[in-house]
């Protein structure tokens, strides 16, 4: 019998621990979107059900190099496409707050595992809100870094101009430490950016006196529950209590962000997912000829939501529609980025709610794709503009479900939003209400 390499690593740590590393002996489960060498990586899809990578993602490599040990792989929406973790081939994820609630998505397994204290910290990926929305739904902290901060090498691709990996933790300090470990320049990802990275955990401070925080009026959307508005007002008060200043700002094109996202992300996905053809790896269905094999493999291998997005993407990129949809979306994306650039001439960061509601019931939105997509209304603009955003737990609604606030920063200004989150966390003093129902 040979011992598993992870077991050997654990034994070695037990015998001779090295506490000079940043994550010494820390067991850590990670989202099953990160390729782990010689360990099955499925992206929550049937089409990758038998895929065993022969290489390691850069982000997880960075984590293991700092002494952490892989504890397991965490369920997620299929190819990270979803806002409730109900699209996974392996079944839905439950929220530790209440077994009938979704944990959000797509990093729902990651969020639930941290909230339920099954892993001390973890990583997720965020294309349109997939770290921040589940963090908000489960009462934890989640950071979506600036585009180009964390290498995309070895992460199963969804929408390459939007995808970013980021830390999820029970508090801001852990989040800062894990971000410090995973953020690195990587020549293996051509969009990785070589900039001077902070020692985020060491430089963390709750002194945010004099900072200017923007409050964008367009985030006050129709039909938003009063509880969310109240939470936001409380957040503004916390900011003031910390000695920072709030300033009303306008991000006029906010309402166009979601329609833009639902062109750009599916277009990129349809291109990225063209690789799943049953030839080189993954699931293969039997076909009468090559084309028939392709079509059956993709029809049987992809779930309904993934097929829907590939179809949208194929349509908007198809001959005769490219200018009307894809080019149009790229132009609106520019306007959305301009909005932020303009705002950041006046403010250092922006405060918004993380989501327009608290966690919803399993099955509640599965038949209405548009209402599901609306979950990401406050998170999607940040991805389109490539900015960093952090969600921190900030209170509970009347049902005792957690609610989050989002702090959006300037590009590469993670330290600043971590500091603001750290200062607010102290004032908020949030306690997650979890009853360990899965043990009883």
């Amino acid at each position: 019998m040979t011992l598993h390499p992870l077991w050997i690593k654990q034994k070695k740590f037990d015998q001779k621990p090295n506490f000079n590393l940043k994550l010494p002996g820390i067991p850590m489960a990670v989202k099953d979107l990160f390729c782990t060498k010689n360990i099955k990586t499925t992206a929550g899809s049937k089409i990758l059900n038998n895929f065993v990578p022969t290489y390691e993602s850069t982000v997880t490599e960075n984590i293991w190099n700092e002494g952490a040990i892989l504890l397991g792989k965490l369920n997620c929406d299929e190819f990270a496409m979803g806002s409730s973790n109900e699209t996974s081939f392996f079944g839905n994820v439950q929220n530790p707050i209440d077994k009938n609630l979704v944990p959000g998505g797509s990093s729902g397994g990651s969020a639930s595992a941290v909230a339920g204290q099954l892993t001390p910290v973890t990583i997720g990926t965020d294309t349109g809100g997939s770290i921040r929305q589940p963090a908000s739904f489960t009462g934890i902290v989640g950071l979506k870094p600036t585009y180009g901060s964390c290498s995309r090498y070895g992460i199963v691709a969804f929408a390459s101009s939007l995808d970013q990996a980021g830390p999820m933790a029970q508090n801001v300090k852990d989040c800062a430490l894990l971000h410090e470990v995973i953020s690195s320049y990587d020549p293996k990802d051509s969009t990785s950016i070589d900039f001077k990275r902070n020692h985020y955990s060491q430089e963390l401070t709750n002194n945010i006196k004099g900072k200017k925080i923007g409050i964008p009026k367009e985030y006050r959307v129709d039909g938003m529950p009063k509880e969310i508005e109240d939470l936001w007002q409380k957040g503004i008060q916390y900011i003031k209590d910390c000695g920072a200043e709030t300033i009303d700002i306008s991000l006029p094109n906010t309402s166009y962000a979601l329609p833009t996202y639902y062109i750009v992300a599916p277009a990129e996905a349809s291109s990225n997912l063209a690789r799943y053809d049953g030839v080189k790896y993954g699931f293969r269905a039997k076909g009468e000829n090559l084309i028939d094999m392709y079509e059956k493999t993709r029809s049987e291998g992809f779930g309904a939501e993934v097929q829907r997005r590939i179809m949208i993407g194929t349509y908007v990129l198809s001959s005769g529609y490219y200018d009307a949809y894809y080019l149009k979306a790229q132009k609106v994306r520019k306007l959305i980025k301009n909005d932020f650039d303009e705002a950041y001439k006046k403010v250092d960061a922006i405060l918004t709610p993380s989501t327009p509601s608290s966690a919803f019931k399993i099955g509640e939105k599965t038949n209405d794709p548009v209402s599901m997509y609306l979950n990401d209304i406050f998170t999607v603009p940040v991805n389109l503009a490539g900015l960093p955003g952090i969600s921190i737990p900030a209170g509970h609604d009347s049902k005792d479900y957690p609610l989050g606030l989002q702090i959006i920063g300037k590009a590469f200004d993670e330290q600043n939003i971590l500091n603001i989150a750290y200062a607010m966390e102290e004032k908020i003093n949030f306690k997650n209400k979890i009853t360990d129902w899965w043990i009883k």
């Binding site: 030839v279 132009k331 794709p369």
Partner: protein
């Protein structure tokens, strides 16, 4: 605008995903509601706006053209769905 069954069949052909009649109807309904939502973008005038094609406003880095991964054939074909130690195997293409 309206996406009909014929269009769904056409897109599914392009996307190489076979869909039966029932699934095509469901997809047509879903896509129509999604595109109704997307049509909101037409409210915006964008004639003079430059499209955003890359969020990282940097030029790609150059590197020397060196082979870094050698002799990894075994790794490359390790996950192929039909086992053959030397090649990827697909259904017959030439009659």
């Amino acid at each position: 605008m309206s996406i009909d069954l014929k269009t769904i069949k056409h897109i599914s052909k392009l996307a190489r995903i076979s869909v039966d009649e029932q699934r095509a109807k469901k997809l047509a309904g879903d896509l129509n509601s999604i595109f109704d939502f997307i049509e909101k973008l037409n409210e915006l005038k964008t004639d003079n706006v430059e499209p955003l094609t890359s969020i990282a406003e940097t030029t790609l880095k150059l590197r020397s053209d060196e082979v870094k991964s050698k002799n990894i054939r075994e790794q490359i074909i390790k996950n192929s769905p039909q086992e053959n130690e030397d090649y990827f195997v697909v259904p017959k293409v030439i009659e």
